[in-house]
Structures are given as structure tokens and as C-alpha cells.
């Protein structure tokens, strides 16, 4: 099957998944305790009888269930995720506003965790059984048990409050009016702590996986052959073991993209990072269900898109993977 046929098949599957999530969203809105109109209004229209009535009419809540479902799902298909009465704007606009910050944060965290995780895993595997290996493994075990948001808070405390090295709050310096390069540097400085703390947990996961995978591949016959040929350890490790050991790690990393986006809710909350995770947190207290469900749908779409991209890159990089959809 050609790459295009695979992409088409994956896109069809993705559309089906998103449709299911939209239906799930609709059911959840109706499962929430209380009148759906009141639920939709959230805290915004608390006691206003007239507004509730308008809402009921506007969303056709007096119509049969099937009709309502169709309206909701076709709305989602046209990128209409409802209206946030709390923020006074369509949900899709709120999300579009905040999405770049989240993409920047999760993207940076993904790259940091994957690169550092693989590098440390290779280092640990090369010194297996030695003190350096034990030290790295112990650290990985600790990071693996550390709550994301707590690591973030402690990083703010140490590097921002006590040492004053890096900003621990926000996306850029408010009111500084930086432009061009100065602004990029400013944003990068604000990005360091959130991206590092979000990536830490996943770095531990990838490190453990790389280490195990390297050790497993190093017993393969072709490695013995390479050694018998007289190649140096470094060359064998880089060209023979790593290239094979890295595949399962990258697969796992692709599958875990969803967790990274979930973690972003916590990281963005701690650092007041203006992304969709922070938007979700703000909507929780206001019980703004339209926004919560909108962020949920968009984050699922991000995960699906990311998985399709990794899948395609993967097939291009490794021709052994059968061209099955």
C-alpha cells in the first residue's frame, strides 16, 4: 500500500475516533447532574431564569435526544465547540488563542525527554553494573515516582525563588515590550522550567526503556559478528545496538504523547503558562463544561494527529515495518 493510502486510512480512523469522542462529550453533558441548560451556563448565568430559557431554546434542549445529538456532533464537525458563558467567547476561539503556548511547551518537553532519556539510557547500559549505572537507575526510579506538579513547584522554589536564575511564572515578561530576538530569548527563559519539569517523568520512562532495550539487543548474534570483525565498542554501540534498540523507545514515546498533554494541565497550572491546560484548570473552578469538554476534544485530536505523524515518520525511517494500515 502506498504512503498516501495509509494516510487516508489513518485519517478515516481518526475521524471515526473523534466522532466517538464527540458523542461521548454529548452524553457526558447530559449525564451531569442538573438541568443541561444550567450546566451549560456554568457559573455565568447562575440565577438568571430568562437566560436559562434562552439557552434551552438556543441549544434546542426541548427537542428529542437524537436531534440534539445530531446538532451537537455536526456542530463539532464544523469546529463549533459551543460558547463559554464564563469567558464570553466561543470555546474554539479560546482554545485557538491558547494552543500555540501548549504546542511549544509539550513539543519542547517531548524533545528534551526523548533526547535526554535515550542519551542517559545509552550511558547507563554502557556501564551496566557499575556505580554510574546504579546512580542513573536510582535517579530514574525517583523521577518515575515524583508527581509532575510537585517537581514543578520545587523547581520554582529553588531556581526562581531562592536562586533567582529563571522566571517561574508566565509565558513572557509582562509589559517589557520585547520584540524580535529579545522576545524569543525572553520566552525561551520562561520555557526552561516548565518544559524540564514536564519532561522529567517521561525522561525517566525513556531512560529505563532505552537501557533495557540496549541490553537486550547487545546479546543479539549480529552484535557478536560485529565484535568478531574487530569493530570498536563505541562503533558497535552507536551503529549496531543503538539503531535497533531505539525503535521500541520511539514507539512508546509516540504512544505516550497523550500523557504529555495530560501532564501539561498540571505544569501549566503551576507556571501560569497560558496554554489550553491552564484554560481547562480555570474552567474547572467555574464549572464551565463547554470549555472543559472542548479542551478535552482538542487534546485528543492533538494526540491522534501526533500518532499519525509518528507512524508515517516511522515507516519512512524503517522500511522493515510492513506497509499495513
Amino acid at each position: 500500500m502506498s504512503v498516501f493510502a495509509i494516510i487516508a486510512a489513518r485519517l478515516a480512523k481518526a475521524a471515526l475516533t473523534l466522532l466517538c469522542i464527540a458523542v461521548l462529550n454529548f452524553c457526558l453533558l447530559h449525564a451531569a447532574p442538573g438541568d443541561p441548560a444550567v450546566v451549560l451556563a456554568g457559573e455565568a448565568g447562575a440565577a438568571d431564569e430568562q437566560m436559562i430559557e434562552q439557552l434551552r431554546e438556543r441549544f434546542g434542549l426541548d427537542q428529542p435526544f437524537g436531534v440534539q445529538l445530531w446538532k451537537y456532533v455536526s456542530g463539532v464537525a464544523q469546529l463549533d465547540l459551543g460558547y463559554s458563558f464564563r469567558q464570553g467567547a466561543p470555546v474554539i476561539e479560546l482554545i485557538a488563542d491558547r494552543l500555540p503556548a501548549t504546542l511549544l511547551l509539550t513539543g519542547a518537553a517531548f524533545v528534551i525527554s526523548l533526547v535526554c532519556g535515550i542519551a542517559l539510557g545509552v550511558a547507563a547500559a554502557a556501564r551496566v553494573g557499575k556505580p554510574q549505572d546504579s546512580l542513573l537507575t536510582t535517579f530514574a526510579l525517583l523521577f518515575y515516582a515524583t508527581p509532575l506538579y510537585w517537581a514543578a513547584l520545587m523547581a520554582v522554589l529553588v531556581f526562581s525563588v531562592w536562586l533567582g536564575w529563571l522566571p517561574g511564572f508566565g509565558y513572557e515578561t509582562v509589559g517589557a515590550g520585547y520584540t524580535g530576538m529579545a522576545r524569543i530569548i525572553d520566552i525561551a527563559q520562561h520555557l526552561v522550567l516548565p518544559a524540564l519539569t514536564l519532561g522529567l517523568f517521561f525522561m525517566a520512562v525513556y531512560m529505563r526503556m532505552t537501557r533495557a532495550s540496549m541490553l537486550e539487543v547487545s546479546t543479539a548474534d549480529f552484535v557478536k559478528t560485529a565484535r568478531a570483525k574487530g569493530l570498536s565498542d563505541a562503533v558497535i554501540r552507536r551503529r549496531h545496538i543503538l539503531r535497533n534498540a531505539i525503535l521500541p523507545v520511539v514507539t512508546l514515546a509516540g504512544l505516550q504523547a497523550g500523557q504529555l498533554i495530560g501532564g501539561a494541565v498540571l505544569t501549566e497550572t503551576v507556571f501560569a503558562w497560558p496554554g489550553i491546560g491552564r484554560l481547562m484548570f480555570e474552567s474547572l473552578a467555574a464549572r464551565d463544561y463547554n470549555t472543559i469538554l472542548g479542551v478535552f476534544l482538542v487534546s485528543a485530536a492533538m494526540v491522534i494527529a501526533f500518532n499519525i505523524v509518528t507512524d508515517i515518520v516511522y515507516r519512512l525511517v524503517d522500511p522493515r515495518i510492513g506497509a499495513r494500515a
Binding site: L28, L29, A31, M280
Partner: protein, 279 residues
Amino acid sequence: MSFWTRFRSNTGAMIGVVLLIAVIAVALFAPLIFEHSPWQMVQRPFLAPFAVDGLPLGTDTLGRDVASQLAYGARVSLLVGLVSTLVALLIGVPLGALAGFYGGYVDEGAMRFTEFFQTIPNFALAIVLVAIFEPSLASITLAIAIVSWPPVARLVRAEVMSVRKREFVDAATLAGLSKPRILIRQVLPNTVSPIIVMASLMVATAILLESSLSFLGLGDPNAMSWGYMIGAARTVIRSSWWLSFFPGIAIIITVLALNLIGEGLNDALNPHLSRKGRA
């Protein structure tokens, strides 16, 4: 070597057992150690650790005893971790077993369903579920179970598929046992050890999930939990760092203990699978 001998020779796993027993003991005896409830004001707010006798970890923003809060928080973490894992097993084991044993359309359907839940970002789904069904211990436990069962289903399916092809299953069929009976009495008991390993690691993940939900303000308002403590102290981290610090350490100790035990169980139950080069 017996299972217990192998498990006991694993230093990490034994450290895990000791830590976990300590946490369980604190959770069980919390009412005996602290005479006041974790919600009760006992002193001035924002007291530093050891500033006043009898309050080794100080007081929080409302003057409540942090040490007592930690002890009662252990109850919530362990309870939610354990029960949500059991519920996840109740969903995942039957689904995976049916899919692996019967194959065909059953398998196809069950795996599509599982895949759907694996695609959805699980923490985001947990947030949505708890937010919609109002935060309570029941809704939190259920939400965590709903986002954690897919790996169980996949594992059980794979195990059942491999056990199903073994000779003793053919023998049972020849002996005239019914299919459901073979599945329950012959096949499933042979898949127990990997499920136990996975379950012990799932309790750890569930504790992290519960604390994250509570941190975001989605905890049960009537139960003191570690995540809630950190969330409540978040805004005063500059002046009173210890209020966020100690609950975090408690979470790390508990999760670490469970992970160590899980790895120890894995090495002891599946010695032929334990990866090479483990120190």
C-alpha cells in the same frame, strides 16, 4: 528457588516492602497517633516545622496540624489506589480474557473499544469525568479505573491467547469441559502472575493520578489528601515551602515503594523473563 526466596534476595523489593508497611501502619493508626482530626485548627497558621512542641511538621494556612493531615492523607491515597486498581481489573480482565479466548468478532470488537480508550489522553479524561460527576471518593476512584483498564485488557488478551494453545487446554477440551469452564478454571489461573505485577504498578500510578486530581481541586471535599495539601499550599510556596514539600515526599515514598515491589514481583514471578543486567 521458591518465589519467596527470590523475592527476598531482591534488595530494592525489600526496601519497598518496608516503606509500604510503614505507610500502611501510619494510615491505620492515624486516629491513635493524632488526637485531633486533620481538619481541626490546633495552633496559629503558617508555623514552621519544630517551631512548637508537638507539631513536628508545623501548621498549614488554616492552623491545622500538617503531620496529622499527612497521616490521614495516606488513608485516601492507599484506599483510592487499591480500589481503583481492583475496579480496573474487574473491567480489563474479563474483556481481555473474552477477546483472547474467543477471538474473531469478539476480539475485534473488544480491541477496537480498548484502542479507543487508549487514544484518549487519560488524565484529561479523568479530569472531565470527575468534573462532570462532582468530586467524591467514588467518582475519583471510578474515573481512575476507567482510564487505567486498557493495558490490563491487552495484557490478559495476549496471555490468554498464548495459554489457549497449550496442550493441557486440548486435554481439557477432550475431557469434555465446557468452554467457559476451561477459560475460568484452566486458562485464567495461568495468567495470574503477570496480572499481579501489573496491578502492583497500577496502584502506584493510581496514587499519582488521585493526587494530581486533588491538586487541581478535584479531590473529595470531605477527605484530606496529599494532592489537596500541595494544591492548597501552592500559592504560599514562597513563604511556607514546607507545606508543599512534605506531602510531595509522602507521595514519592509511597509510589516508589509500590514500584520497587512491582519490579521485585516481576523478577521473582517471571525469572526467565527478568531482563539481563539488572543489578
